[in-house]
């Protein structure tokens, strides 16, 4: 493998990993702070993609679609928490699993009814089309760089939010010790709603910006969900830093795995997870980091 190809695969790995991080960070925070296991998280990703498709068809403007999508997704997350997830907080894991499993089915069918079951493409916006040259004879799509850039910007923003603001402090505290935060009199329901809406919005947004690259198809939520779970297991529940590290790790394993041993690529990530579980059954990083 020559240097250029290697570089390209690295860029792909980072882009894939960062995208996965967007989705998984929401999942790990929702679990770490609210103690809710949400199987439907992958569905948000799928919703994002289909949302991008429908909005793009209506407005014809990708940037506008993204903006509208963000607003809609925060609203959606807020309502979903208020109307459904708030009932899940004190339940046993088994019941949470089932309820969110049912939610997946509901989302899939609603999408089927409201949009359709077909595969769609979302056009790359014209101002991001094209590729830049890398090395002597290879090029790399600008849009993918844009994706990585946006995800990275969001990751940095999350870092600042969580580490340097009061809200972030509450989030971290909640992730480390839920009961304590409640007893400190912090408006826990508002915090929960905020975190949940944020997590949902991140996943939906990830689906939106990924749509020009990965296209839009019915099963797309499933694989993202499972991988997000692997990210959370490897990175440690409630740890955003862990989610980032794990997501990038998985990005590299998957990307290079496909290059070197295509057939086993799908299973390789799980081998990685197995190895890490043997070493650290609770993930790489602690809650709240």
């Amino acid at each position: 493998m020559d240097l250029t190809t290697f570089l390209i695969q690295c860029l792909n790995s980072v882009q894939y990993g960062l995208l996965l991080f967007l989705v998984a960070s929401g999942l790990t925070l929702i679990f770490g702070i609210m103690g809710v296991i949400n199987l439907a998280h992958g569905s948000f990703y799928m919703i994002g993609a289909y949302l991008a498709y429908t909005l793009a068809s209506y407005t014809g403007n990708f940037a506008l679609s993204l903006l509208i999508g963000i607003v809609l997704s925060v609203l959606f997350g807020y309502l979903l928490e208020w109307g459904f997830f708030s009932f899940l907080y004190e339940r046993e894991h088994l019941l949470q699993v089932l309820m969110t499993f049912g939610l997946i089915l509901v989302f899939e069918e609603l999408r089927s009814i409201l949009v359709d079951d077909d595969v769609h493409g979302v056009p790359v916006p014209s101002w991001l089309e094209g590729s830049i040259p890398i090395g002597n004879n290879m090029t790399y799509p600008i849009y993918r760089l844009f994706m990585s850039g946006v995800c990275l910007a969001i990751a940095v923003a999350m870092y600042y939010l969580i580490r340097k603001t009061r809200i972030g402090m509450m989030v971290r505290a909640g992730a480390t010790n839920r009961e304590m935060v409640q007893s400190l009199g912090i408006n826990i329901s508002l915090l929960y709603r905020f975190v949940f809406a944020g997590g949902v919005a991140l996943a939906i947004f990830a689906g939106m910006i990924a749509s020009p690259v990965s296209s839009v198809y019915p099963g797309m939520g499933n694989s993202v969900l499972i991988l997000s779970f692997v990210v959370v297991v490897i990175g440690g529940i409630g740890s955003v830093k862990g989610a980032l590290v794990a997501a990038l790790l998985i990005g590299f394993v998957e990307t290079f795995g496909i290059v070197f041993w295509q057939q086993a690529a799908g299973a390789l990530v799980y081998v990685l997870m197995a190895a890490i579980l043997l070493w650290k059954p609770e993930g790489l990083f602690k809650q709240g980091t």
Binding site: H93, L95, L98, L105, I113, F229, G266
Partner: protein, 344 residues
């Protein structure tokens, strides 16, 4: 109710055995096939019940063992003739048990939510192995053209190609499953397993190697899931990666919640109700998954104790042999406290 449990089972099995003999429209191919499928799903639900309802291990990857056995029988069945039934059923159950052992060792150190996610992820791995390796037939899967032969000293014991006989064969498998699990739960192993569900810390403090017991439960559950997979593959004549999908695992969980956790009849009841519901919904609309999803949510939200929860609560299906010296009347219904253990 407990005293009559044995007789109720007996009657239920006897009634079930008459299904193929009933006059149409019930005794027709469609219903016999549906009945067979329900019996197989009951075995699957029972195997999961051991894990979830009795050991407290919430596994979201149980379908992996179901699929493993199915693929085993598919790959080992000869292409042009019926295979040896004894060998095939042993091999199927054996490979799923082995897979359960390997996965079990890897996940047993995790607790609570990690356990759930890890089991899900490993089942996905199994799914991918079946899906991506051409050896297994890829996403299309493999076919089984001849159901195996079970013969003893040259005498054919049962003709599985016959619809009715296959139904009775499956019914026998269910009977064996119920009998073995019931006895297991009555034995020391069973008591220890349930003790772990109620309070793992106390079990360890008392001197039980809880890790080993949980692993045993996981493997036994995996083997019975394999039995279900073996039969399912034979019934439909094909296997594909979807057998390992988490939808299958999730459906299993729904069945035991529906019927009632920690109850053997509950698992069977849950499987029956689930399958009937599925057939009914599929008949109603092409968007039947919406109804199914809604039902799952409703059941989890409003009926977490399941159908059996109304009858007997969550008692162990074992007789108390308390030789009480005082004349205190024997307790019948316990105020059961289902302690959600973090080791789930």
């Amino acid at each position: 109710m407990k005293r009559y449990a044995f007789w109720i089972w007996l009657v239920a099995f006897a009634l079930a055995a008459t299904l193929p003999l009933l006059p149409p429209p019930i005794g027709t191919e469609f219903y016999i096939a549906l009945g067979t499928r329900i019996l197989i799903m009951a075995i699957f639900a029972l195997s999961l019940q051991l894990l979830v309802g009795y050991t407290g291990l919430v596994s979201l990857g149980h379908a992996a063992f179901f699929a493993c056995a199915a693929y085993t029988v598919a790959m080992l069945t000869p292409e042009y003739e019926a295979g040896n039934g004894w060998w095939l059923v042993l091999a199927s159950i054996g490979t799923s048990g082995l897979l359960a052992l390997v996965i079990g060792i890897l996940v047993m150190r995790t607790r609570g939510i990690y356990f759930i996610m890890a089991t899900l992820a490993f089942a996905q791995m199994v799914y991918f192995v079946f899906h991506d390796f051409a050896f297994f037939g890829g996403s299309d899967g493999t076919y089984i053209y001849f159901r195996p032969e079970f013969s003893l000293f040259g005498w054919q014991l049962v003709d599985l190609e016959d619809l009715n006989q296959f139904y009775w064969f499956t019914l026998l498998a269910l009977l064996i499953t119920v009998a073995v699990l019931a006895q297991l739960l009555r034995s020391r192993l069973g008591h220890a397993i349930v003790g772990i569900k109620y309070n793992e810390q106390r079990m360890r403090a008392t001197g039980y190697d809880t890790m080993a017991y949980k692993l045993a439960s996981f493997v036994i559950g995996g083997m019975f899931a394999g039995l279900a997979g073996f039969l399912f593959a034979l019934q439909y004549g094909f296997v594909n990666p979807e057998f390992a999908s988490w939808h299958q695992s999730g459906n299993g969980l729904l069945m035991i919640i529906l019927g009632g956790l920690g109850s053997l009849p509950g698992a069977v009841l849950g499987a029956v109700v689930f399958e009937l519901m599925r057939v009914w919904y599929q008949d109603l609309t092409e968007h039947w998954q919406l109804l199914l999803g809604g039902t799952i949510i409703a059941v989890a939200a409003f009926m977490p104790k399941g159908l059996m929860g109304g009858f007997s609560g969550l008692r162990l299906p074992h007789r108390r042999f308390a030789r009480v010296k005082a004349t205190a009347p024997a307790q019948t219904t316990a105020t059961t406290v289902m302690q959600p253990q973090e080791h789930a």
